[in-house]
């Protein structure tokens, strides 16, 4: 065995480079906006704390979902239901978060409840939706795409059916606080931190990566793959529920059309951040950066007064370009190394 040649380890810390990569993309995009800002608007894009807060604020809901979705993608799955689960939880949560001042409350007997009630309802609902996803995938073996597509359609249907399309408004002040000020940002970053640790430093995380890298190997290593998958999807559902709470609190209303297409933004954020759709690879930190890139684009476009018709065209191009740049840098590195 004396002959197995292994080159010395070149990396200082585990996995840093990948994230550094996408961080560079973020910085590059920001700089472009900064330069264009000075040219066209005669003012700085970045030197405006208000704008920076809003940038994160407006993507924090997508960000919360994206964290759950990242874990799902790491197991080699996908979650298309998160946007609809946001709408469903927002609706049902709001119906038990209404203020007694409002004459037409949905459940007049259930107004002015302490804020923990709607919180528990929202999180519980998300958890259940996620568990159904997970159970379908783990126990019946149908593809995650289909299981969560079904949940996507069903949850959206429930959101509409719940009040026959009517929005629900007038939450209690204590509930509205959850979505006010920079609270959504704090929640997003706290969730990110928790799951960053969970994925890297706990067995939960190791199992998640193991299942995504090679489910058979995970099974023969003694991991209960089915149970773990249910956990992962349940957590993704829980986070979608949390996102629903935040979004309802922020808008101070809940509406069946909420969260439309958020699942795609969340998946895009994860993939831009380096999570591999074939499973086994991905980091929360990358997803956070991916989310910020999306937020940066939204703010940047408005700042530069880009015509809305061009915005979408440009957004599509930037998403692709960001991932292409990342891929190329990664290839270049692996060639050099």
């Amino acid at each position: 065995m004396d002959n197995v040649q292994i080159e010395p380890v070149k990396r200082q810390r585990r996995g840093l480079p990948q994230e550094l990569n996408i961080l560079l993309v973020l910085v590059a995009v920001a700089l472009v906006f900064e330069i264009l800002g000075w040219i066209f608007q005669g003012q700085s894009f970045l030197m405006n704390t208000r704008r920076l807060t809003i940038m994160i604020l407006q993507v924090s809901v997508v960000g919360i979902i994206a964290i759950g979705v990242t874990q799902v993608i790491i197991t080699g799955g996908i979650d298309l239901s998160s946007g609809s689960v946001v709408a469903m939880t927002a609706m049902i949560t709001m119906s038990v978060a209404q203020s007694g001042d409002y004459a037409r409350a949905m459940y007049p007997a259930l107004t002015d409840l302490p804020v923990v009630v709607p919180l528990a309802v929202g999180l519980g609902l998300g958890l259940i939706a996620g568990m159904i996803n997970g159970a379908l995938i783990a126990l019946t073996g149908i593809p995650p795409f289909i299981a969560t597509l079904g949940m996507m359609v069903t949850a959206r249907g429930i959101a509409k059916w719940y009040t026959k399309g009517q929005p629900i408004s007038f939450p209690t002040d204590s509930f509205a606080v959850i979505g006010s000020g920079a609270w959504p940002v704090f929640i997003f970053l706290a969730v990110a931190l928790i799951f960053h640790i969970a994925l890297r430093y706990t067995r939960y995380g190791k199992f998640t990566y193991a299942i995504g890298a090679n489910p058979q190997a995970a099974r023969v290593s003694g991991i209960n793959v089915q149970r773990h998958l249910i956990k992962v999807y349940a957590i993704a559902g829980l986070l979608a529920g949390l996102a629903g709470i935040v979004t309802a609190a922020r808008a101070e209303t809940a509406q069946a059309g909420m969260g439309m297409m958020y699942e795609l933004d969340a998946i895009a954020a994860a993939v831009i951040g380096g999570t591999s759709l074939s499973g086994g690879r991905g980091r929360i930190f990358g997803t956070v950066i991916g989310t910020l890139i999306l937020g940066l684009m939204m703010s940047g476009f408005t700042f530069l007064r880009v015509d809305a018709f061009y915005q979408e065209i440009v957004k599509g191009v930037i998403i692709v370009a960001a991932v292409v740049a990342d891929t190329f840098r990664q290839n270049a590195r692996s060639k050099k190394a």
Partner: protein
């Protein structure tokens, strides 16, 4: 002066005309406008308003995604002291506007009411009918459908029997498919109450393809789009409802500029819907 305009949806026939009217008027006044498309998403619209505020616009015009989100939008603008004008859609917080805010628009329920009253008259107050609803849960779908249902419960129209009401998502092809499905299920409606013109035209297409004479069926839409007016002239469509995009667009821009300049302004400007029938269709052909 720069005015931010947050639209609920770009690819909607009527809202496009509204947008163009704002744009044209702004061009005449030499005001810069920046349009944003919320793509039907409340949260996105909220962010767009926040972004406007952060970019330091002089005023904001918003076409709400949903009436109930008015409260949150009002608060954002109010806190930053930026003038805000709601256009077209009636916000839920209508009665408690902060200063520097106003509404210029029309009431969705009125559209449904005009449409249903006229169609009821044409039907002689009896017969079978179907309702084509817009995307479920949107303000337009709710307001117009509710008004139609209310009118049909009135004494004069009680004889009208609603066979079914389904959603065709505001679009022509789904309405075409839906109508065909109804017809093949043996329904023979005498009237089609549609939440907008696009769906009404889809229904017309389906009825014609089934060999039903358009004289036998009363079809009504809302919006008075060019396609609809042409169909009205051809006798395919019987009723549509005109909403003055010009009045709303110009009114909204004028009001927001007044607020921004500190001039006196009217906090509620109602631009009424108008009924369009084959008799008066010529007047509207050059309007939208």
């Amino acid at each position: 002066e720069t005015i931010g305009v947050a639209m609920s949806l770009f690819d909607d026939n009527y809202l496009t005309v509204l947008r163009q009217n704002i744009q044209r008027h702004a061009g005449d006044l030499g005001v810069t406008v920046q349009m944003e498309d919320a793509q039907g998403d409340i949260a996105r619209q909220q962010s767009q308003i926040e972004n406007f505020v952060a970019s330091g616009v002089d005023g904001i015009i918003v076409m709400l995604v949903d009436a109930d989100s008015g409260q949150a939008m009002s608060r954002i603008a109010d806190r930053a002291g930026v003038p805000l004008v709601f256009v077209n859609m009636l916000p839920a917080n209508m009665d408690e506007f902060p200063e520097k805010q106003a509404w210029v628009g029309s009431d969705e329920e009125q559209a449904g009411e005009l449409q249903a009253t006229e169609m009821c008259k044409l039907m002689g107050g009896e017969g079978d009918a179907v309702i084509l609803m817009g995307q479920l849960g949107t303000t337009g779908q709710r307001g117009r459908t509710a008004a139609v249902e209310r009118v049909l419960q009135s004494d004069e129209c009680k004889g009208i029997n609603v066979l079914d009401s389904q959603s065709a998502n505001w679009m022509r092809t789904p309405a075409l498919d839906l109508m065909t499905n109804w017809l093949t299920s043996g329904m023979q409606p005498h009237a089609v109450f549609s939440n907008n013109d696009e769906m009404a035209l889809g229904a017309v297409q389906a009825l014609k393809a089934s060999g039903i004479s358009m004289d036998d069926v009363i079809v009504g839409g809302v919006d008075a789009t060019q396609d609809a007016l042409a169909a009205l002239e051809a006798g395919d469509l019987d009723v549509t409802v005109y909403q003055s995009a010009k009045g709303q667009g110009e009114g909204a821009l004028d009001t927001v500029l007044k607020i921004a300049r500190g001039e006196a302004f009217e906090p509620r400007v109602a631009v009424p819907f108008e009924l369009v029938t084959p008799e008066n269709v010529a007047e509207y052909k050059t309007q939208n």
